[in-house]
């Protein structure tokens, strides 16, 4: 439930996947931002009762945006800029080990 304002700058386009599905973003987007833009409401589940959660603070403080990037788990998506070929995987089950 997010949309992108019209962008008149010439920032490059970035190609990546979210859970195997191809997406396109803008250079400078963070992983958390593209996850929200992709329409996902929940982007992971909580550690104890597996309740749906989503990014809350967007500035690296809340750790709700944890996601697996290029095979490495529990990364803070709001601190990572998307890059070409990046594989983003959401942690929809109670994730326990990184990679």
């Amino acid at each position: 439930m997010f949309r992108r304002l019209p962008d008149k700058t010439a920032a490059g386009v970035v190609n990546f996947t979210i859970d195997g599905v191809r997406h396109v973003g803008r250079r400078g987007d963070t992983v958390a931002a593209v996850l929200l833009l992709s329409g996902a409401r929940a982007t992971r589940v909580s550690a104890v009762t597996a309740e749906p959660r989503a990014p809350y603070c967007m500035i690296g403080v809340c750790f709700e945006c944890l996601v697996t990037v290029d095979g490495v788990g529990n990364r803070q998506g709001c601190l990572i800029a998307v890059a070409n070929g990046m594989r983003i995987e959401t942690q929809k089950t109670r994730r326990e080990v990184g990679a």
């Binding site: 326990e96 080990v97 990184g98 990679a99």
Partner: protein, 379 residues
Amino acid sequence: MSEATRSPLPDVIVIGGGIQGCSTALHLARRGVKVLLIEKDHVGRHASGVNAGGVRRLGRHFAEVPLSVASMEIWQSIKDLVDDDCGFESHGQIKVAETEAELATQRARVERTRLLGFTHEELIGQAELRDLVPAIAPNCVGAIICRSDGAAMPYRTTLAFKRKAESLGARILEGVHVTALKHIGQVWRVESEDGTHEAPIIVNCAGAWADRIAAQLGEPVPLEVIAPMLMITARMPAFVKPVIGAQGRTLSFKQYDNGTVLIGGGYRGRPNRDTNWTDLDFGKLADNARTAAALFPIMAGAEIVRAWAGIEARMPDDIPVIGPSLTSEGVFHAFGFSAHGFQLGPAVGRVMAELITTGATNVPIDGFGIGRFDTVRAA
């Protein structure tokens, strides 16, 4: 008029609110002795509250084995003593041997414990080790096991001893530093930030600060202040139940029911006992991390969420000081547990209570006398 002069004189003043002090206070209170415990921070603030929680007889210095075995009996029914199970779980403690030479050392050790009349340590071979600890590195050849050793929650345990002692009439003063000790007639005058307290008997359970108390009594001990470091991970899938150590490496390794893994090994940080501060040494923690991953390959993907170090006292021979003062009538010591005192706490308190009330204890403690140090004999 201060509270100290209004309430009846305690029979015993215990200095220090770690596990040894709280256990001593409890066992004395159970015998109807009036106890005042004075703790400079809060109960369980230091080593007793932040250690790895290991409850083991395995691998102890032989001087400690009788005390450890006696303490283990108390642990088996700790809830009856302190109205709290203290988070005690016993899935065994295992000390792995990675080479045949290490296994041979272990075999000799187990034989020696048998000769001394103790049966808690057993040698196991590779097959049983792999069965009990499937995640261990495949090169491990065997281990010593104590099947009913385990671990508990250190702060919770120390607090339980404190609360039970209070319920039996002990008075616990927190946030109060003892500043001086003076013998006046038959009584010890303890000066503190809370005023003066007096009692005929003092027990020095002051941990990493106990040498300062001992020095005031003319018994300067060579106590070293250390800060053994620990790390805890985020939750991992369950892969190990017993507490694990290693014969040839420094490692202590335990996974809790919630999946988090506690990694220790006695690598030292830098303590400051006057500011209650410890600085961690990440170069050493890196080594600790490498050791953990070498023994448990699954650990390579683990995440460290916190590291810390408590402030502990170490004696040069790595065993504690337990027993009466050599210079001062009515003073007893129980300190210097050298990073492995937690499991001993329940029995140490009972031993101190026996010594104080009857003059003797049936657990052998001669090896722990304060007089064994040159510095004390020379003073």
